[in-house]
C-alpha cells in the first residue's frame, strides 16, 4: 500500500522547470530517503506535499511535517511544553499525555533539559526535541525536510532505532547518503524520479549516485573497492558483518 502517490507532477518556478512529469509512489510503514543534488527541488517537493498540491495524493490525515529550520517551529516555553504541544492541540487525555511524555523522557534521557527554554538549547537538541514532540502525536506519516541536519550520527542512530519500532511512514529529504542507511528505500529526484529502489539495490548504483552529486556512504565505498580487489563478494551495510566476512 502507498502512503503518498504523485502522478505526473509538473511544476515551474519563474522560467525554470523544477519538475517534469514526476511520478512517485511511496510505500506505507517504511523509511524512504529522498536524495538529489543541490537545487534539484527537494525543498520544493516538500512544500508541495505540505500544501497538498494537485497531482499529489496522501492516504492519511495523520501527518506531521518538520522543516529544516528548528527556529521556525518551536512554540513551547519549556521543552516539556513543546513535547506536549501537538497532544494538547488534539485534545488527548491528560493522563495519556503524562504517560507518553514520561516514556519518551526515559527513552531519550532528556530529564535534565525538560524544564529549559527550548531557545537555550543548541541546534542539535532543538531538532531532537522537535522530532520527539511530533512523534508523541503518533502520526501515521512524518515528513522531514533535512530536519536532522544538526544531529550527530550517534543521536541519529538512536532516533532511527526508535522510529523503526513505531508503525509509521517516514519521508526523509536529505543531502547525505549516509542518512539513507537508516532507512529502507531510496528515491533520487532530479526534475523527475531518477531512481526508486530498496536500500541495498539502490546503493549498488554507484554511477547514478555520483552523477547526481551524491556521495557513496563509507561502508559502501569500502565494500565496492574490496569487491574490486576480490577481497569481498558483495556489499555490506554493517561494519561488523564486513569485518567477520573478510577475516572469517
Amino acid at each position: 500500500m502507498n502512503i503518498v502517490e504523485i502522478k505526473k507532477l509538473n511544476y515551474s518556478y519563474k522560467d525554470n522547470i523544477v519538475f517534469e512529469n514526476l511520478s512517485l509512489n511511496i510505500k506505507k510503514n517504511r523509511i524512504t530517503t529522498i536524495l538529489g543534488p543541490n537545487g534539484c527541488g527537494k525543498s520544493t517537493l516538500f512544500k508541495l506535499i505540505v500544501e497538498n498540491y494537485k497531482h499529489i495524493k496522501i492516504n492519511t490525515k495523520k501527518i506531521n511535517y518538520i522543516s529544516t529550520n528548528p527556529f521556525e517551529q518551536i512554540v513551547g516555553k519549556t521543552v516539556k511544553d513543546q513535547l506536549m504541544f501537538y497532544l494538547k492541540q488534539n485534545n488527548i487525555k491528560e493522563s495519556t499525555i503524562k504517560r507518553r511524555i514520561k516514556k519518551i523522557i526515559h527513552e531519550f534521557r532528556i530529564k535534565d533539559i525538560i524544564d529549559k527554554d527550548p531557545y537555550e538549547l543548541d541546534n542539535e537538541q532543538k531538532q531532537i526535541i522537535l522530532i520527539l514532540s511530533n512523534l508523541l502525536n503518533y502520526p501515521e506519516l512524518l515528513i522531514l525536510d533535512d530536519a536532522l541536519c544538526f544531529v550527530s550520527t550517534y543521536n541519529k542512530y538512536k532516533i532511527f532505532k526508535y522510529l523503526k519500532r513505531q508503525k509509521i511512514s517516514i519521508i526523509h529529504f536529505s543531502n547525505n547518503v549516509e542518512d539513507s542507511i537508516f532507512g529502507n528505500q531510496i528515491v533520487i529526484i532530479n526534475k523527475k524520479v531518477v531512481l526508486n529502489k530498496p536500500l541495498k539495490a539502490a546503493l549498488k548504483e554507484e554511477k547514478l549516485l555520483l552523477d547526481n552529486n551524491l556521495n557513496l556512504p563509507f561502508i559502501i565505498e569500502l565494500s565496492l573497492k574490496l569487491k574490486y580487489y576480490n577481497l569481498l563478494e558483495d556489499i555490506y551495510l554493517s561494519i561488523d558483518e564486513m569485518v567477520n566476512k573478510i577475516w572469517n
Binding site: 543541490n38 528548528p70 533535512d146 541536519c149 544531529v151 550520527t153 569500502l222 573497492k225 574490496l226 569485518v243
Partner: protein
Amino acid sequence: MELVFEKYHFNIKNNSINCIIGKGINLELLEYACKYVDSVKLIIHPIINNILYKTVKKELSYAFEQSNHRNPNKIIDSLKIVGLDNTYLNKKISDLSSSELYLIRLASILLINSKILILESPNIYLDYKHYLNFLKIIRTIKRRYNKTIIIFSNDSDFIHSIADYIFVINEKGILEQGNKYEIFTNEKLLKKCQISMPKIILFEKKVFNKIGINIGYRDNINDLIKDIYTYK
C-alpha cells in the same frame, strides 16, 4: 592567538583549521560577542539568514565597502573562490537554493577579509560535489590567504577530514584538545560526550577488537584497502 569566550579559553595556532565539537557554547551569544572584534567575522548557518540586500550584487558590494580592498574585481574573485561564476551577480537572493545562499555568504565573508573565520556546521546543506569543493575552499584560504579557521560541528566524519586541531567542549569548559587521532581514538571521551567515532576509525577499531590485528589509523579508504590486503 587566544580566543576567550566566557569560560572557554582557546589557544589557537594561526593559519590552521580548528574544530570545536560538543555542547555548551551558545553560538548566538558568541556571534554577538564577535561583532566588536575586528579580526573576527562569524558566519552562522544560513537558517539564521542575515543577508541584508535583495540581490547578490548588492550584498557583495556592501561587503566590498566594508573591506580594505580597492579593486572591485575582488567581488568576482570572491565568487570564483567559492565556485560560483559572475552570472550570480544578477540573481535575486530569493531565487537561490539554500546551498547557493551559503556560498554567497561565504563569498561576502571572504570579501570582508577578516583574519579569522568562524563557521557553524558549514557542510550540512552541501551535496557531495559542493562538499568536496568546500573542503578545497577552506584549505585554499588557509594556505593562500593565511586565514585561521574555526569550525563548530557535530559531524565527526567531516571534522576528521578537515581538522588540524580539535577542541572537545561541554557546559563546564574545554574537556580535551588534540589532533584528530588523539581525540577520535579516545573511546571513553567520545562516549562521555556522545560523539560518534569517524567511520574509518570505527572500522579500524572493530578490526582490532574482533581479530586482534592493529592495522593502524588511515585518513582515506584507498590507504585502508592496502592495509586490509596486507593483513588478510
